[in-house]
């Protein structure tokens, strides 16, 4: 390997690419050539460093200086100052401070990074970087020092459970697949991360693809599989490209292919790209899609471990599950199981979104409380508002409340509370969120993504959505809540796959925890959070209005009248409750109320 005195790592995540990261890389190369530095300084492309919101960004080693927000035009100056004169350019320097990153920045309080340990630290397109970070050592240990049964035992003892959300012990699945007397066996990696707002797997695939590949190879050795598929969604083109490069490099280095590392173990894998169907994250649908069919689920059993791809035993795990396997092998089951609760071990990544100060990607040990995640790791509720609910587990997860904040996070605790671990989306909501509207929003999503194969899900989700829409529109009636409960029960019980079975969960959990909001909508024709438009009114507070006319000029339906310097009035019948006047008013003179009076206009 050539020796360089300095390394410049430029982030080429999609966000930074959109801001011209490639142009910055080109400008750096050009300038280093022009200055005769090209043999001394290496320019590398890496994944996110932590400042993509103000990208492009780059990290200079060994100094560890983090630059952000430069354009190609700034590069000659930056190169001259930093690399020729040795002076840090403060103008572009990202000063290390706790709040830098929207997605993955410096370690936050209470964070522990195992899955994300290499992301932003290494060049994902260079296998040597991964090797330098102890990459493929676990594979060597497994192939030369451990039997397949030994590997299964080690992973079993670590307590690693499926990170796709269901939480089935990973090694138990391996053992089942191993014992099926049928060959060949397949490994599947579910990288069809479709939950809106969840992008943990994308970060790993783009930032550290080899840890997933290594985990799959180790799993294949344990299971006795000879071929593997990584099923990645087409919405992640960078992840697909990164994976393909990584697989090619792993083959060149002898980690994939025939006789891996000179042993008689052979395994290879390929990436399969989806074509835009949320339901393909369900394992039987995913397998149908791999085989070139419509991604429709089928009933289990038989489970994929017995009859999967090409009707052969197939072991399916999620990206995050595979990615921690090498670390478990290297550091031992005891190390991994020292983190977490009695039944849920290790760490879990979450994409925290919604009304928090510091949203983004986090990795925390199991057993942490929701309160710690929301208030310590994510910085608390934005704008000093009050916490109302947190939705865990993606669109099929439940909404938890204040009373659940001190739950120790693990699979069982979340199920018991009426939600689930899911893949790791956390949407935090403050007092301005209407829970009926939230339930309607998620039902809208699952209804649209229902594949249509089974009737309970196809028709049931639509009927639930209609009822919720009716309630949000202020047309709810006595008996609607009971009808919702019945429908939710039937859809959950009778649907074929996880999508339909989980679809009613947001409704069920909000009905349980926020029943009074439903009742307010139905019986008092009131939306307590002042979100549902047909149930709110906008009024001008006469003592505050200065008659500046801003609201009247911005109203799209000319519902506001009033002379300059005179108090303005909103005509309730014309008003469409778009809220633009609230936003544009400089004096906070427009008051939103929901007092149970309905003078409905057709909206």
């Amino acid at each position: 390997m050539a020796f360089y005195r300095s390394h410049v790592l430029v982030c080429v995540d999609p966000e930074c690419l959109a801001k011209g990261a490639h142009e910055v890389v080109d400008a750096l190369q050009d300038e280093f050539i022009a200055q005769g530095l090209i043999d001394e300084i290496q320019v590398l492309e890496t994944s996110r460093i932590g400042g993509c919101a103000v990208g492009p960004e780059m990290m200079v080693y060994p100094e560890g200086v983090h630059y952000i927000g430069m354009t190609p035009d700034d590069i000659p100056y930056l190169v001259e100052e930093h690399f020729l004169k040795g002076r840090v350019v403060e103008r572009f320097r990202e000063v290390v401070k706790p709040i830098v990153d929207e997605e993955l920045g410096p370690l936050r309080p209470k964070e522990v990074r195992i899955v994300l340990r290499n992301c932003g630290q290494i060049d994902p397109n260079n296998i040597e970087d991964y090797l330098a970070a102890d990459g493929y050592q676990a594979l060597g240990k497994v192939l030369f020092e451990m039997t397949p049964e030994g590997v299964i035992d080690e992973v079993l003892n670590s307590g690693l459970r499926g990170r796709g959300g269901a939480g089935f012990p990973a090694a138990k699945k391996w053992a089942i697949t191993r014992e099926v007397p049928d060959n060949p066996k397949y490994m599947i990696c579910n990288a069809d991360e479709g939950d809106p707002g969840a992008f943990m797997n994308r970060r790993v695939l783009e930032g550290d693809p080899h840890c997933v590949i290594e985990g799959m190879i180790i799993g294949a050795y344990a299971v006795g599989a000879s071929y593997g598929y990584i099923y990645c969604r087409a919405e992640y083109p960078v992840a697909v490209e990164t994976l393909n490069i990584a697989i090619k490099q792993a083959r060149e280095f002898g980690f994939l292919g025939n006789n891996i590392l000179g042993t008689d173990f052979s395994f290879d894998l390929e990436v399969r790209v989806g074509a835009g169907a949320f339901v393909c994250g369900e394992e039987t649908a995913l397998i149908a899609s791999i085989m070139g069919n419509r991604g429709e689920p089928h009933p289990r059993p038989p489970f994929p471990s017995v009859k999967g791809v090409w009707d052969k035993p197939s072991n399916n795990n999620n990206v995050e599950t595979y990615s921690v396997v090498p670390q478990i092998i290297l550091n031992g089951a005891t190390w991994y199981s020292s983190m977490g609760t009695e039944k849920s071990k290790g760490t879990k990544t979450f994409a925290v979104g919604g009304n928090v100060v510091k949203p983004g990607l986090i990795e925390v040990p199991m057993g942490i409380t929701l309160r710690e995640i929301i208030f310590d790791v994510a910085g608390g509720i934005k704008d000093g508002k009050k916490f109302k609910a947190v939705q865990t587990g993606g669109p099929m997860g439940g909404c938890l409340t204040e009373q659940h904040l001190d739950l120790q996070l693990d699979y069982e605790a979340l199920s018991k509370a009426g939600s689930m671990m899911g893949s790791g989306g956390l949407v935090v909501m403050d007092e301005t969120s209407c829970m009926v509207d939230i339930a309607r929003y998620f039902m809208d999503f699952t209804q649209a993504e229902s594949c249509g194969k089974c009737t309970p899900c196809r028709v049931g989700t639509r009927r639930i959505l209609e009822l919720l829409q009716k309630i949000c529109d202020g047309k709810g009636e006595e008996g609607d809540i009971e009808a919702l409960e019945d429908l939710c029960f039937e859809v959950s019980r009778n649907s074929l796959c996880g999508l339909g079975q989980g679809a009613p969960v947001p409704v069920v959990s909000t009905l349980k925890n926020f029943r009074h909001e439903y009742e307010a909508h139905i019986f008092e024709k009131r939306c307590p959070a002042k979100v549902c438009k047909p149930l709110i009114r906008l009024n001008v507070e006469e003592s505050v209005c200065t008659g500046c006319t801003v609201c009247a000029r911005n109203c799209p339906v000319e519902a506001i009248s009033g002379e300059r310097r005179q108090v303005h009035h909103i005509d309730e019948k014309t008003c469409i409750r778009c809220g633009i006047c609230v936003q544009v008013c400089n004096f906070n003179a427009i008051v939103v109320s929901s007092e149970g009076v309905i003078q409905l206009t057709e909206v």
């Binding site: 479709g194 835009g276 419509r294 919604g354 949203p359």
Partner: protein, 163 residues
Amino acid sequence: MTAPTIERDVSLLVQEAIEKHGAHRDALIPILSEVNHALGYIPAEAFQEVHKQLQTEDVSVSKGQLFGLASFYDMLSTKPRGRHVIKFCENAPCHVVGGKAVWDALCDSLNLKNGETTPDKKWTLVTTSCLGLCSVGPVVLIDDDLYGNVVPGQIDKILARYE
């Protein structure tokens, strides 16, 4: 990315796609994606061609099965699309940071609704599932170009970049 539809020889295109991805049943989605990428959509004759060219001893797919695939997956289109396809992320994380206003600006600017194509066949506007770029939302994807942190005022400037 998208070539004019008429001049492309669909038969040749299908043949190339089959050669690239293999004459297997499980290559159908990549083959159809390839055709979709080249033409912007999958015309009826492409189904016919895939059906015809994939008749081997092991593989046999009906046109109905092929159409079934194309209609199932959101990214495959059976209707002609514009030269440029605008995909707008309509999911919650983009929604809460002002996505709706960007979507309205797109619809207004192009005078299109979701799934429609302009009469001059320049633009097609569709919504997409979550692109996972939630930290820079609202996100708009035009062909293969990503735009993050989009505000309504930028729409005209962004659209002007495309021929």
